[in-house]
Amino acid sequence: MSVKSPKSQSDFALIGTSMRKIEGLDKSTGRAVYTDDIVLPGMLHGKILRSPHPHARIVRIDTAEAEALPGVHGVITGKDMPTTYGIIPWTPDEYPLCVDKVRYIGDGVAAVAAVDEDTALKALELIHVEYEELPAFLDPFEAVQADGSTPYVHDARKEGWNGNITKMVQLEFGEVDASMDESDIVVEDDYFFEGTTHTPIEPHCAIGQWDGVGKLTVWSATQVPHYLHRELARVLEVDQACVRVLQPLVGGAFGGKSEPFDLEFCVAKLAMITGRPVKILYTREEVFYAHRGRHPFHMKYRTGANRDGKLTSVDAKILLDGGAYASFGLVTTYYSGQLLCAPYHMPAYRFDSTRVYTNKPACGPKRGHGSVQPRFAFEVQIDKLAERLSIDPIDFRRRNFIGSDTRTVNELRITSNGFLECLESVEEASSWSDKFRKMPFGRGIGIAGSTYISGTNYPIYPNDMPQSGVQMQIDRSGRVAVFSGASEIGQGCDSVVAYIAAEELGVPLEHIRVMRGDTDFTPVDLGAYSSRVTFMLGNAAIDAATKLRKMVQAAVAKSWDVKPGEVLLAGGFAVWGPDTERQMPIREAFHLAESEFGTLGATGSYNTPKDVHGEYRGGTIGASPAYSFTAHVAEVEVDVDTGVVEVQKIWVAHDCGRALNPILVEGQMEGSAYMGFAEALMEEQVYKDADHGRAGLHNAPSLLDYRIPTSLDTPELQALIVESIDPEGPYGAKEAGEGPLHPSIPAIANAIYDAVGVRMNSLPFSPPQVWRAVEAAREAGSLSKPAEPTELAESPSAMSAD
């Protein structure tokens, strides 16, 4: 991959300035169309019958009464779609509707299509399912120790294996035990990250339409139209060329819509058997059952360091509670270890991660997939090491900075790295040195850092085709049409391709049209996951736009008899660089180009460099063309009498490479920090045990009881953009949508310690948990302001970055 020479801000007309989103006004006027806003002629309404048992065999399903109900047009069960699917090609373990067993309360067993929602609901009551209940695995430790005396959640892949295990990964880099033994100090602790879920405000929704002769169309609120396209074709046995997936605007996702779901298969199948369009809209309760949210992680960390404040060795053991299906779990298991190896240099590192199935809704990828949980534990470990060594924790992090243009201990390639600037930025903005260990008892401040991928280096199914493609065409009116298959879930990717087209072709932003989200017409983009979109789509857009720009430059240069490189396209004009008085409206330039080359169009694509990871099994997982870096400082007040933690402010510094549109980058940083704060203090996706209701039932499947922060709960957030100008990123950009979530949680944990001397190793930091920890500390006599470090933070300029 050739390295582009970095442009300075003055080279850009639009990039780097705050711009509106192309669909922004549609969203604020109610014109924006989401899936449930679509109504088709003759459309039926579908509903899915869900299991009341966490683990049971399906003995018999009787649908006769439901089928006989007036207004019911179709009833399907698992037998109608007996093909397993799964987002990861190696772990297809779900049926669209359960065939032999149900594996969690909420698992789908049958679906109906009827003239309206009321009739569909009535029909569900008339479906009779006979179950044979099985003992359920609700505790991951019981699941991992199971001996087969009761049925596993899934059949074991080999005789004698534990069918409750999705994936085990053990990787070791360097001499972990020897380095640990030689360390001056070792900190060891157990951590627990409770599961949380995405709760986009838009519930999942899908519409299926069948033309009666072979063509299937599905509209869906999905983050991955391409993967949905493939899985629909496979499961429903329709040629991929005859499946069309349309993605209306998506009302939030955060990873919760990044694989196929039962409703998408059900609307398709019901449309095929009824000959009518069918819509299914999840209830909010069903969104909680669909889940695929953050895995609960049980973690044990041993971390060594020397007196000079340098890390020596890291040893992690992690149990992932995966829920009923694999989802992205294979990747999650790798990510639980692979993504920890920056921004600090680790001489030796080992992780041993096991993901188990349990009879609960399946976990999957939530913003910061697989790495938010270990990052919490590790950044608290670092705080403990710094405390033990009496070193300022920001200083400790600087001393261990891994640097830029290097490799991690697990051989991932790091290029641009603005982590030191992030630390400096939050240190200064938060007045760190005036506050750390200096505020009165009850008030505290904490720091944490992190890194995240800008896209996965490899697609989910192995292939050598581009990860992202864009097509552009120039219209004689002066307009540019962009065809993009990227998934607009609120992050602004449709606008990013428009900004790039406008920048490269000199067209006003309002003259760019983006045709999006339609697998019949837009090039493949793999989806909105792993923070890949701006990076990969942006590079594809630059590729396409550059081809068009060169045609326009050549045609204008020929007409003016100058060199093509001297022709600039900007602000609606073609301009001659050496004498800017010489110019023509861009429309005329386009006419010259069309006269010269014929109809003007170009495709662009992007694929990742393939030499950025280690040559070991699993070495590709965690590899990314670039990494973002983040540092947060959180300030809190802890009420020791009630256990209430109030987060007053989070300073969020993030190295996004280059901010293509700062206002959108800030929005991603603020939204990420908010979501991390929410997980730190409030959110728990938990299930009842037998003593508190029906075992395995979701504890609170509503937005009242699963509390997410309101405007009154959310702390002040200050976004501080750091630009490292990445050599591979589009104009130097890297991701901004997931990295800035990570440090919120450990920064708050470390701030609580600074406030009252209490370590919170278990999430969430809710009043009961904090109160119990405070009481334990009070009994132990350790409830007090921790001591100031003897080695205070040095000025950043005194630090070397080697």
Partner: protein, 182 residues
Amino acid sequence: MLQPPIRVAKFSGMTAATEIVRLDVNGDSREAGVPSHFTLLETLRYILGLTGSKQGCDKGDCGACTVLVDGRPTLSCLTPVWEAEGKQVVTVEGLADVQGPHPLQDAFDAFGAAQCGFCTPGILCSAAALLEAEPAPSRERIQEALAGNLCRCTGYAKIYDAVEQAAARMREEPTRVGGSAE
């Protein structure tokens, strides 16, 4: 953008008793046959085709369905449609007028206050009612006024910026705005 969908009423009324409801929505007098158990939200979205108001939870927890009923922010998913008879209903579609978008709508666009945009219609209705009552609200008052509207994308920061900017503009151009929000 997506191909324009065909919008027709979804309900074919096989199971529920249908009755005629008379509504004043965004200044239009509307009459519609609706199942007797319908909420105001269902009527707006599925009978009248006003899909700007969103359903996020259908039980009054998220605020995405917020509309103005006689100027008051109201959860339309918890409001039986009959309760809105004889009252003035304003939805997000009714905030704009022939002069263009409401200053709040413009500010939400300018500040990136709508990321996914699904909570935005409800937040705009709550904010419009606030600015109608208090032309110069403090940030704390804005936070209180929006506390019934969950946003999952923004962390609310850009939303506050947008409301404050719109309020300032409305104070400068008092004749322009607020009419349809009354």
